[in-house]
Symmetry: C7
Subunit: 80 residues, 7 copies
Amino acid sequence: MVNGVERPLDVLNSAKGKEVLVQLKNNRQMVGTLLAFDIHINVVLDNAREIVDGESKRSMGLTFLRGDTIIFISPASMVA
Amino acid sequence: MVNGVERPLDVLNSAKGKEVLVQLKNNRQMVGTLLAFDIHINVVLDNAREIVDGESKRSMGLTFLRGDTIIFISPASMVA
Amino acid sequence: MVNGVERPLDVLNSAKGKEVLVQLKNNRQMVGTLLAFDIHINVVLDNAREIVDGESKRSMGLTFLRGDTIIFISPASMVA
Amino acid sequence: MVNGVERPLDVLNSAKGKEVLVQLKNNRQMVGTLLAFDIHINVVLDNAREIVDGESKRSMGLTFLRGDTIIFISPASMVA
Amino acid sequence: MVNGVERPLDVLNSAKGKEVLVQLKNNRQMVGTLLAFDIHINVVLDNAREIVDGESKRSMGLTFLRGDTIIFISPASMVA
Amino acid sequence: MVNGVERPLDVLNSAKGKEVLVQLKNNRQMVGTLLAFDIHINVVLDNAREIVDGESKRSMGLTFLRGDTIIFISPASMVA
Amino acid sequence: MVNGVERPLDVLNSAKGKEVLVQLKNNRQMVGTLLAFDIHINVVLDNAREIVDGESKRSMGLTFLRGDTIIFISPASMVA
């Protein structure tokens, strides 16, 4: 599964079009479909939902996230 | 709806002239019409209103927001 | 009113000589006449007054504000 | 064991494919197999698990970690 | 009084040799004679005194202040 | 003892192979043998131990520390 | 006393070999002999002592301080 990961951004590249969990600073979490990212790790999610205590808190549709506030990005399917 | 999003800033570009929600650090939120942005994600909103607990707290008209304090930008219509 | 706003700094440029509200981090606010700014959003206000709970707390005359501490800049007349 | 460490990134390079502990700011810890890193210390872990009080809290599979939030990276086998 | 302020640093330049108030992050304030500054807003004050609750707390003589910690710089005579 | 210290990094260079104390932000301390550093003050310690209240809390072996989180680095033998 | 201070770093240059007080973020203070500094305001102190409530808390000998954590540097003799 991890073949071809030479650089960290390769992982984001292969996650395009898939659901990801984005952990933000200040305990915010978002789940959505990864549409785009850049070298600053600015990220665009489609169908973004903010998650609090495992439940969707609000839906935000297409959302631009500044890289500066991101801790990690992971495939959402792995997270309960 | 998400066709044509190659880079994160494409989303901001297509949101020009539309209502957006801007989530700032320190739990501030602003809603307004997106007029302009730059690569630092400095943003100009027209008819900007600060939102607290889902209600407009104060109106600020044309407002310049420094990118450094922005967490995410999303179409305002999606947010209750 | 918003014609001609191509880039975020255009808004600051057309606010020169006018009263603006500057929201700083840590809940500080300043009102004053915008005299100058640069690309770091360092700002000079004339007749600057610090505002706490809607009232002038102290007057500081000509004041240099480092951009790093600024959240937003808005026309002061809009703010109660 | 430490022969050949000329530059800090040499240590990360020789840790590729091995289990590492990543200490994040805000008391978060992650354990996983180091797959990739870059000069910003952006890191990719496979089979990543968040650790709280010495126990796995959640499993996240392949995870991208922004360097900005990392305090230290260490071989996981050394940590109880 | 404000003629000739084209750029923010012009204000600091014309304040050289005069008393200024420097507001630092974390509620520290310093008063002293502005001797020098650079583009990072690193500043040197002579006869610097730390001010707490409007009173001099400690005198520090010639002091180098890192720009990173500065919120604003203002003529001290204006501040009570 | 201090002859030859022209630049700050000279001190780190002559500490290579010796025990150092690294004070991190958030009150973390680490002791270990300094193996490598770079201009970002990223540091590698061998036989690293986290110190809390003067006692070793956990041993981490070879550890990569991001410079961004370091306050100071000092010869460990000087610290009680 | 202040002749010849054209740039902020001039003050640090003339303080070489002298006792200085270094105020760090998070209320830490250090006193020691200034040996070296660079443009990032990374600093080396010899015979460094951490000061808490006006008393020496611990002695650290030769110490490297990252500029990022420094608020101000002042001649130690001025500070009680």
